[in-house]
Structure formats: C-alpha cells, structure tokens
Amino acid sequence: MNRALIFSAIIEDSWRESWARRASLVVSLIALALLLLFAFGVGVRLDEAQPDLVRVSLFGVELRVQTVFKATFADAVELVALGLLNPWGIFLGLFITIGLFSGMFVRGRIDLVLSKPIARWELYLARYLGGVVLVGVTTMLFCLGVWFLLWLKIRYTDLGLIWASLVLVFLFAVLYSFAALLALVTEGTGAALVATIVLWGLTEFAYARDILRPLSPILGSIADALYYLLPKTNDLEIVTARLIGAEQLLTEASSEVASVGFAFGTSGLFALVMLALGIFVFSRKDY
C-alpha cells in the first residue's frame, strides 16, 4: 500500500515539476497547434457518388488530385503523425525527461527524499516511470486527437494509430532507460542526451549489417553484435507503420521485420538491463 503511495507521489511530482518548468506547456502547445492545423487547415469533402472517395483541400485550396480513397487519406495523415512523433516527439521527450531525471539527483534535493523510508530502487524506478508517464500521456493524447479529427472528418474508426502510439511510448521508454543511467553517472543532462542520440544512431547503423558484411567482415561483425545487443528501433518503427496499415508506403527493403517478438523482447531486455545497472550504481552512490 505504502509502495503505491510512494510511486504515485513521485510520478505526480515529476508531472508537476515538468508543468511548473514550462516544458510540458511548450510541448502541449506545439501538439495543440498541430492538431488545430489539421482540424482547420485540411478540408475534406465527401464524394457524393462514391462514399469511399474524398476530395482534399489545404487551407481552402482543393488539391489537384481529384479524389483519393478515404483509407489512403487516413494512412497519409497517420503516417505524418507517426513521422512527427518518431523521431521529433521522442527527441523532445528525451530532452525534457533527462533534465527532470538528473534534476532530482542533486545534493540537497535528494537528501530530503533519501531520508524518508524509501529504498533507492524505488526512487530510481519511480522517477523513471514519472518520465515515461509524462511522455506516454502526451503522446497518447496527441494520437487520440488525430484519431478523433479523422473520425470527425471521414468517420474513420480504425484504432491502429492508438496502438502505434503505445509502441512509440515503448520505444521511448527503452531509450530513456539508457538516458537515465547516463544522467545518473554523468550527473548532468547534456552528455546523457548526446550519448542517447548516439545510441539511437548506432541502432540504425546496425541495420546496415547486410550491406556491410560483404564490404568488410569486421564492420559486418560489429554491426551484427550491435544488432543483437541494442534495441530494435527500426523494427519497432516498421511495426508502427504496419499498425496503421501503411506498410505499403514504406519501401520494400525496409519493411521487413525479423520477428515482432524478437524486436520487442530484445528491446525490452535492453531496457531492463539499463534499469538494473542504473539501480546498481545508484544504490552505491554517496550524496
């Protein structure tokens, strides 16, 4: 019972801090502006003769393409939303939550918390979850907004975007587990952010293993090792595209996922290892 109270208190505190520091406000305003842009900037006229087709206008100017399928229109909108969230939304989320995370682990501030009857792993995990909840709720609300506007405009009911947003939150949580460990070790925000971006880049690099192997066996082996150890960012991205039913819009070569279970499993394992390492280091750290 107490543990639930402690976790919810720390998660709520992350939330309040983020709003008080205006970070959440800025992100929410950006998301709101994008939704308004879609709501009022993109007009849709249903084709009377054929209920599957729509005419699309941008700021009142009708597009030259005469009509498109409803489903194609929805896929395009969802793909734009996904493209904004990954990588830009995730990047913004990391930027904000790394600051929140490292801000807690400062002498003078952390003393007040550590002197309470809570264990180090509880504090570390709760603060990590605070960041995940913050980014998760914002992402979900944005996707719900897009979904709702699609429903208003063309009575679209497919929930693919909502499921895809959950996958993106998972991807964020994986990257954030690494960022949190680095923020703890370097006692700051900048280095942790840079290192996380580098990690992200490396996970993408690992996908070049099939191209690299014939060129240089060493580079190929490095890419192989990275592929098996690191989170499967690219696979997860493809999964999100599949969920919105837009994989045909991806190029042939990049639309293959080794195995969805493998992608989620190894990425989740990576996050668990990072969290365990973070807790291990934190549990031995003097403040």
Partner: protein, 246 residues
Amino acid sequence: MNAIEVRDLHKTYYGFLRRSKIEALKGVSVSVKQGEIFGLLGPNGAGKTTLIKILLGIAFADRGKALLLGRDSRDPRARLHVGYLPEDHQLPEYLKAWRALDFLAKLYGMHKRRSRVEELLQLVGIAERRNSKVKEFSKGMRQRLGIAQALLNNPKVLILDEPTANLDPLGRKDVKDLLLHLKDQGTTVFISSHVLTEIERVCDRVAILHKGQLLTEGTVDELTREKSLEDVFVELIRGAESLETV
C-alpha cells in the same frame, strides 16, 4: 536500545580516478540514548554532515556500523520514525509550501496528511504563506519549512544538521524552544553545529568532532565545570592541531 548507535565509522571520499582522497571519518563511535538531546560540535569540514548522511543511508561508510533505533542504516525501515533537516536543503521550488510538505509526507507512507501539514505550518510560523510557492520564500522561511518537513512523521529521532544556520536571532530562539518542547515529548534529538553558544544550553550531552575524530564526549556539565564550552572547544582543537604540526 539506543536511538543512535555508531561504531568505528570510517569514510574516505575519493576524487576523480582516486587521484585525491579525503578521510572524512576516521573511526568515530557515538551512542545516543532515547530521549536525549545530543550535540555534535565541530568546525567546518570536521565530518559532521558525513556522519549524519551515513546514519540516514544518504552516504555509505567504508567500515563500521551505524544503527538507527536498532536498525542498520542501510535498511529503509530504519528511517520510518526519523526526521531529518539537511544542511543545505532544496525543497521543491515549484510547489506551494503546503504541497511540498504533502509530497514529503507521502514518502513516509502517510495516508492522512492534511491536518498534520496544517499543524506544522502553524508550528513553524509560516501558515499564512501556505499557498506561496517555495521559490518565493526567503532563506529563513525555507529553513522553517525544512524543520516542518523533518517533523512530519512525528519522529522518535530528529536529526538536525546546522539547524540555526539561516535563522535570525528570533528564529534561533524558536528552534531552541522547539527542541525543549520535543524533549518534553520524549523525542531524541541529534543536532550538529559549528556555532556553540546557542545549543550548549539545550544539549544533555555533546561530542566534539575534529578532522574525522572525536576529541571528547560528555555531558555539558562535565565539560563546562571549569571553563565555558567555547573555551573547551577552542583548546581541544588547538591542541589537536599543534599535535599534528609536531
């Protein structure tokens, strides 16, 4: 069972890549009985804060034992009935005063908090500013809020690190009165200070710490039979330093 039990505590801080080291505690033993007001005195850098942080599980000793109410200080449950005022604390700036207290009370697992928070805001004299953000508070008000958060759980053991540092004379008088009030209730108080006169009168026993070692320990009466505590303090520390230079 003693309220606080510290046995042969050693702590060395290492610099980056162990290129420098500071021996903050070199085998300190202290015990504080329940209901006592205990003063840990010593100049800046003596190791007072280090000792306190080890007691609370905020830092870890290299060697020795630290027990709070009979529990090892590494065990979070050791802190259930303990209140702590850190030396340079930063309360959450972005919260209102009452909410900062409410947040910290939740970390004690307290389910009914409202009346306790209100009571403490009254006790430390900042009740009329309950809805102000902590960032608008002066140093003195922050210190008062810090004292309030240390009392949230009605602690059996209260640990105060330089509690009067940011307070004006009126505030110091308030702290002294508060300590006497808590003593009446049977609370054990462990208080560190590098300023002497203001706390010697309320302490049952004091110990003098210098460069990580205890120089002396005893009741205030014992130590001040011939000289003032201040003279004892200065002499002991001068003595320790001249020994070192020899």
